[in-house]
Symmetry: C2
Subunit: 341 residues, 2 copies
Amino acid sequence: MIEDRKLDVLRAIVEDYVATNEPVGSKTLVERHRLGVSPATIRNDMAALEEEGYITQPHTSAGRVPTDKGYRLFVDKLSTVKPLSGPERRAIEGFLAGAVGLDDVVNRTVRLLAQLTRQVAVVQYPSLTRSAVRHLEMVRLSETRLMVVLITDTGRVEQRVVELPNALGEDDVAELRARINGLIAGHQLADAPTLMVDLPDAFAPDARANVSTVLATVLETLVEQVDERIVMAGTANLARGSALDFAGSIRPVLEALEEHVVLLRLFGETGGPQSVHVSIGEENPHEGLRTASVVSTGYGLDGVNAFASLGIIGPTRMDYPGTMGAVRAVARYVGHVLAEG
Amino acid sequence: MIEDRKLDVLRAIVEDYVATNEPVGSKTLVERHRLGVSPATIRNDMAALEEEGYITQPHTSAGRVPTDKGYRLFVDKLSTVKPLSGPERRAIEGFLAGAVGLDDVVNRTVRLLAQLTRQVAVVQYPSLTRSAVRHLEMVRLSETRLMVVLITDTGRVEQRVVELPNALGEDDVAELRARINGLIAGHQLADAPTLMVDLPDAFAPDARANVSTVLATVLETLVEQVDERIVMAGTANLARGSALDFAGSIRPVLEALEEHVVLLRLFGETGGPQSVHVSIGEENPHEGLRTASVVSTGYGLDGVNAFASLGIIGPTRMDYPGTMGAVRAVARYVGHVLAEG
DNA sequence: CTTGGCACTCGACCGCCCTGAGTGCCAGAC
DNA sequence: GTCTGGCACTCAGGGCGGTCGAGTGCCAAG
């Protein structure tokens, strides 16, 4: 079938171009791959592929280069995620197993991912809203100032200082702490608002102002706002490839990487931990990443609700099968580590 | 005096080169600055300056460029720190005043610094060892697992999970918490080891194993190890200047920036909050930063003990007076903000 | 549908020359 | 002793022309 061969040609072009970083022509293609036909035939196929928008020539009389659309087809239909080798897997496991505490796990993960893929790695901290409350601690700083510390079952800690309308004694703090913990400890953060809605009524009228203020802070700051911590590593990898990557300047990419909000939205599209999501070049919503690709996946304990996302950002010209394999493997192992810790 | 004029010439060369990014020759120099002598005279001075190692030529028949030594002399003798303008100062104050909590202060500071200087900004979190203990909280996760949360007077929070040798009841935790807090609350972290050295003796012999384990974790992990949090912004500024900056490749610089340990050592040299420290090119101990300069200072409440350091990293070809002014101003304002918060 | 042949295109590379900014040196003026 | 104008020299950068070769599109024949 001619259609089949055209796809073979596209696959060969992608693989060669990724490997050599040079536009690939018909002759070198038949030399390197056992396609069983002559260069002239390949040329016809290439012309068709170009017509359909899968490849393009940087200039006349140069070889072909995959377009974003070509990479997309390659990722969807022509490649399979490449599993890591045994030694690689053992290295990952050993490296992550040595971690102490959540921060350490996250930091090791992101560095590991950057090293494995030789791209910029991004790891989102386990999402607060999908975590459960382990404990809510309150520390009385002064009569009208209270520090609230929230500890989740993923080991994450968030704190905030609250200014109170009225003075509050040590006993009041203890009571408030006990009541709140009684209501929400062990429950999902997302459920906290519902659980606590009647709480002020349980207190004497003159204490309600304080209770409401504390509750407001707990809910607003800790539940809604703070999904946003991410960690990054391997930015030096951006300056590694040729000047062709990223259309000559890595500056817009670096700028995009500093906008953590953008990254969070980008990685938010990620589905469950099973599938690896790929966003290629122009598919990216953010202007600065039009010359980049994002490979991401979720990680977490159960197979359904991902706790958070992790992934990498690199040039569109990248080894998708290998990168996807590395991302998937790291996500799985970090899931295991978190489940045990 | 001829010596004076030579210094004037050096100053003019530095200023012109920083402004134009082009090697500066004798003719353009007399045109742009009122030196009162002819180009030929300048040429003699330049030859002398080159002989002494303050300037160099990229190639024969090009203008002169300052060497690291030249920049050093310029910074030490020929320039004065440029204070910020009124509007700039008000903008800083307003931007930092809006911060809520330590994380927000630090994040705003680093972004502000990056924007003001158009360089890569680095801010170290207030040092743990120089802070005082506000409160030590313990949360019982299970019979043999305890989460320890340390809160400092700078608003910083550190947590750790401890595995205990023996089971521990809720009462035991309460007692331990009360005793430890009684000993160290309000004291410098650095003094904590001395204060707690006799603590295990106050407990029944069969509880001492647990107490010692907890103490070991508190001391070792929280006091010794964790001075290391720093935040960075403006890495995109590295890709801004010409290819001449950083000798063509920003990659080693990016790599150095990822090694936070290196940065901490670098910024550790910083003196008090009064003086701004500058480290130029070859003066930097780290290989990857041989083409970069570091401008840093301490920030904190009192004038003697800096809480931590902040600063910027950029090409050796930078506007030192302006940058030093910005760094100093930001350090002062963030000190004020922390003192109030 | 495949293939070999053929003319054509055009970027990369090389050597060439010219230009101009900038230098070093020197002899003379102050 | 210091400054200055003059002069010969150097050399990176840019424009030009020519060659080379990889790669293409098209076509006629298998």
